[in-house]
């Protein structure tokens, strides 16, 4: 069994109003060192596969077909055994 960690984030060119709102709130907290906030999704999957490569292939399919919308989102995959 492999554990996959998927990060889905808005593409850099796309305005992230939630990130912006959170950034404003952080500024109000006095954390002015924070220069930028981008908010995305973190998804964990348990994958039954023969090897790491096969697991990654399955997760990649899951991302492109459902978990991320590539019109506006990017994703990264990390596989742990």
């Amino acid at each position: 069994m492999y554990k996959a960690k998927v990060n889905v984030t808005l593409r850099p060119s796309i305005l992230d109003p939630k990130g912006k709102a959170a950034h404003h709130a952080l500024e109000n907290l006095g954390l002015n060192q924070v220069e930028k906030v981008r908010i995305g999704k973190f998804i964990e999957l348990d994958v039954n596969a023969d090897n790491e490569e096969a697991a990654k292939a399955v997760v990649e399919q899951a991302c492109t077909k459902l978990l991320a919308n590539e019109v506006m989102e990017d994703f990264t995959i990390e596989i742990e055994s």
């Binding site: 808005l10 796309i14 305005l15 109003p17 939630k18 709102a21 459902l66 978990l67 919308n69 019109v71 506006m72």
Partner: protein, 232 residues
């Protein structure tokens, strides 16, 4: 006379509005289609209604697009069958790839529920053939994720192919910044596919069918559809 089908997903909440509009206001034969149905025989026009299918989990429309009926909707549309997605229905059609682009959260992050004005941009579609270019309609919106996005190449191809059917405007038909309340690219409120048989729009014409309920500006849009279907 054309038979309309209104798809019902778990979480749809404008299915009855659409049914009422077609069946009781316009007197058309109308049927509900459960999302697990796969039989579209006898249906001439499909409405994918608004609501919160599958609780909007993951992204609006992302789960609904894998419902059994959606495979049939895609086939129906690819054969040229007319499909209209309203609000969540628009989001589902985008996720299904029947029309290009994606929906982001409204740029001010608020759910907006109010009447807005939309301007008809072209009469070159079965949905708008009886309207007038530049005609303005008072139609309710009700969504949190209606900020339409498409990349620059995609936008150019929408414009070049005359695929934008409705834009958010003010009462005079001007494309003012405040009229574009959700931040949609190029004020886009409704678009069609390149085949011009699929419409996705965020505003709810089916909720503007009777004067006593505020506005009947949705009626000409559905009447335009009926006219097109009767001459087809």
């Amino acid at each position: 006379m054309a038979t309309f089908g209104v798809i019902v997903f778990p979480g749809s909440n404008c299915d009855h509005d659409a049914y009422h509009a077609m069946k009781h206001v316009l007197g058309c034969e109308t049927k509900f289609l459960w999302h697990k149905d796969t039989d579209l025989s006898g249906i001439d026009f499909l409405i994918v209604p608004g609501g919160f299918s599958y609780g909007d989990y993951l992204r609006s429309g992302a789960i609904a697009r894998f419902s059994p009926i959606m495979q049939e909707v895609v086939k129906f549309a690819e054969k040229g069958g007319p499909v209209m997605g309203i609000c969540n229905g628009f989001q589902i059609l985008l996720e299904a790839g029947l029309i290009p682009g994606a929906m982001m959260h409204n740029h001010k992050l608020r759910f907006v529920c109010k009447n807005v004005y939309i301007r008809c941009e072209t009469t070159e579609s079965l949905f708008t053939s009886s309207l007038q270019k530049g005609q303005v309609f008072d139609i309710p919106v009700s969504h949190g994720e209606g900020n339409y996005f498409i990349d620059q190449d995609g936008l150019k191809s929408l414009q070049d192919n005359d695929q934008v059917l409705f834009r958010y405007s003010d009462a005079n038909g001007e494309l003012t910044e405040s009229a574009n309340f959700n931040g949609s690219i190029d004020h886009i409120a409704g678009i069609t596919n390149t085949g011009r048989n699929v419409l996705g729009m965020m505003p709810h014409p089916e909720r503007a069918m009777e004067k006593i309920l505020g506005s009947e500006d949705g009626k000409p849009i559905f009447e335009s559809i009926l006219n097109s279907l009767s001459v087809a």
